[in-house]
């Protein structure tokens, strides 16, 4: 009898000792198998600024330079020219991602809804020059999902 009790005791103490382990074993795993699995980013996640385009796929940027002045780290270069319809449009819009601090101030400064923050976070690249994002790249990124322009006083 005492032998059986001993065995039962061993099993019981083993279970007590492994309580936390067993609980975690059967609970839902929270590990994400990155990069196969991705986490969901909240709306308004600040990746880096991208350019938004109008219905025709052209940039809304008028090269007014407000974002350039708002940028704390001077990473934006904009050049503009008069378009065919006489309005000013941006011909060059370069973002130096090596120095961008993703602060959202350029998006807030823009008066033409031409800028938004993307939810890109994989920004590593092999060459430093690849961190200079030109206008076409930024426009293309601006057409993707997860782009949001949150300015001061907005509701999320």
């Amino acid at each position: 009898m005492s032998y059986v009790r001993n065995v039962a005791n061993v099993v019981a103490t083993l279970l007590v000792g492994l309580r936390v382990t067993l609980r975690e074993w059967f609970s839902r795993s929270i590990t994400l198998q990155y990069p196969e699995q991705r986490w969901e980013l909240p709306r308004g996640y600040r990746g880096h600024p991208v350019l938004l385009s109008d219905e025709e796929g052209k940039t809304k940027c008028t090269a007014c330079g407000l974002c350039v002045r708002a940028c704390p780290t001077d990473v934006i270069t904009v050049k503009g020219a008069k378009g065919e319809d006489g309005k000013r449009v941006a011909t060059e819009w370069v973002l130096d991602m090596s120095r961008c601090i993703q602060c959202n101030l350029c998006v807030e400064a823009c008066k033409f809804d031409a800028l938004a923050m993307s939810d890109r976070y994989e920004l590593a690249c092999y060459r430093r020059e690849d961190l200079l994002y030109d206008m076409d790249t930024l426009l293309e990124l601006g057409r993707g999902d997860g782009v949001a322009a949150i300015t001061v006083g907005d509701k999320l």
Binding site: Y45, C103, L105, I150, G153
Partner: protein
């Protein structure tokens, strides 16, 4: 035999600790004078993380400074923004809507919890207990997710703005925050079982690194470091800013001023912060989150000082304006810089093994010391 003992060669030894010691919370080099294993003097060498913060501010517009303040004390970024923004608002006489003030209080208190959780984890790590680190970061991760949803970033938020906050709280903020606070309560109980109540922990912290009330006041200590010595000085109570006078909370005070008291103070502060967040969420008024702010920020000539109770102590910001679009001068009064000088006071005469516990107990962030 006795004469031979007397003739033993005695000499003080100067050793370098850091700048890349795994438990110095940043890049700190401490020149420690040792006699055997006893610390006879500490000389902290700072400047490894110096980024000319104050000088950079003079070349940025008033708004552009805010993201830079995030990068001084990077584990409590929201309180840094708050100190700067409050100083500029004082200078300009800006009205802040009530809802924005409540949101600021909520975010500042959540930030305090996040900062103390990080401190708890790393402090356990300093003492050789690795498990609490993982537990504390589990809770902190939930909080960081809440911050990410609200502000769009995980560490450098750029959320508190002149005249209010950047955006309103997300729809499920209240539910998630309350769920977190419940989780935190359970977590705190677990932390006490895991670390604080541990005999080894008590042995390594009780009666060590004693800072008397007189010393603490004389050296200009603030925050939990000061309160652990028995001085009930909390800016949220003694010089209320924002809407702190509307909330009911205690200021935890220690008695002996040793490492253990500092720990207990911080643990209790988390509970009090949770209390404040609950009350603020209950009384959160409707309305705008940004007041009337001029398009171009040009504070009138003059100067202003605003101080907030940051997780580490009194964080002050002194701004001088010459009436232009850029600050003439921004001075940062960082609690960590003051507390770092206390190292010599509290660690002198103790064993070198307890030196790490002493560094951990004053909770310094070198990014803020050097800035």
């Amino acid at each position: 035999m006795t004469s031979a003992k007397q003739e033993l060669h005695r000499e003080e030894m100067v050793i370098n600790m850091g700048p890349q010691h795994p438990s110095t919370h940043g890049v700190l080099r401490a020149v420690v004078t040792l006699e055997g294993e006893t610390v006879r003097g500490v000389d902290p060498v700072i400047g490894y993380l110096h980024r000319c913060f104050e000088k950079i501010c003079e070349q940025k517009t008033w708004t552009q400074v805010i993201p830079y303040t995030d990068r001084t004390d990077y584990v409590a970024a929201l309180t840094n923004e708050l100190a700067y923004v409050l100083a500029v608002e004082k200078l300009m006489g800006l009205e802040v809507p009530e809802r924005a003030q409540y949101i600021r209080v909520i975010m500042a208190e959540l930030q305090r919890i996040a900062s103390h959780l990080l401190w708890f984890g790393t402090f356990g790590n300093d003492l050789g207990a690795f498990t609490p680190f993982l537990y504390a970061f589990r809770e902190r991760e939930t909080l960081i997710d809440i911050f990410e949803k609200t502000t769009g970033a995980r560490l450098t938020y750029n959320y508190i703005r002149l005249g209010g906050v950047r955006n309103d709280l997300p729809a499920d903020f209240e539910r998630e925050t309350l769920a977190f606070l419940e989780k935190l309560e359970k977590g705190l109980e677990e932390y006490h079982n895991l670390l604080i109540g541990n005999a080894i922990f008590e042995y390594r912290t009780k009666g060590l690194g004693v800072l008397t009330a007189e010393q603490a006041v004389a050296w200009g200590a603030s925050g939990p470091t000061l309160r652990a010595s028995g001085v009930a000085w909390d800016l949220r109570k003694s010089e209320p800013y924002l809407v702190y006078d509307r909330f009911d909370f205690e200021v935890p005070v220690g008695q002996k001023g040793d490492i253990y008291d500092r720990c207990i103070c911080r643990m209790k502060e988390m509970e009090e912060s949770a209390k404040i967040v609950r009350q603020a969420l209950e009384g959160l008024p409707e309305g705008d989150v940004v007041g009337k702010v001029p398009r171009v920020i040009k504070p009138p000539q003059g100067q202003a000082y605003a101080a907030v109770e940051a997780p580490r102590g009194e964080l002050g910001c002194f701004v001088v304006s010459d009436g232009g679009i850029k600050p003439y001068r921004v001075k940062w009064r960082s609690p960590c810089f003051v507390h770092l000088q206390l190292l010599d006071v509290i660690a002198r005469g103790e064993l070198v093994a307890d030196f790490i516990a002493n560094i951990g107990s004053i909770d310094i962030i070198l990014g803020e010391v050097d800035r």
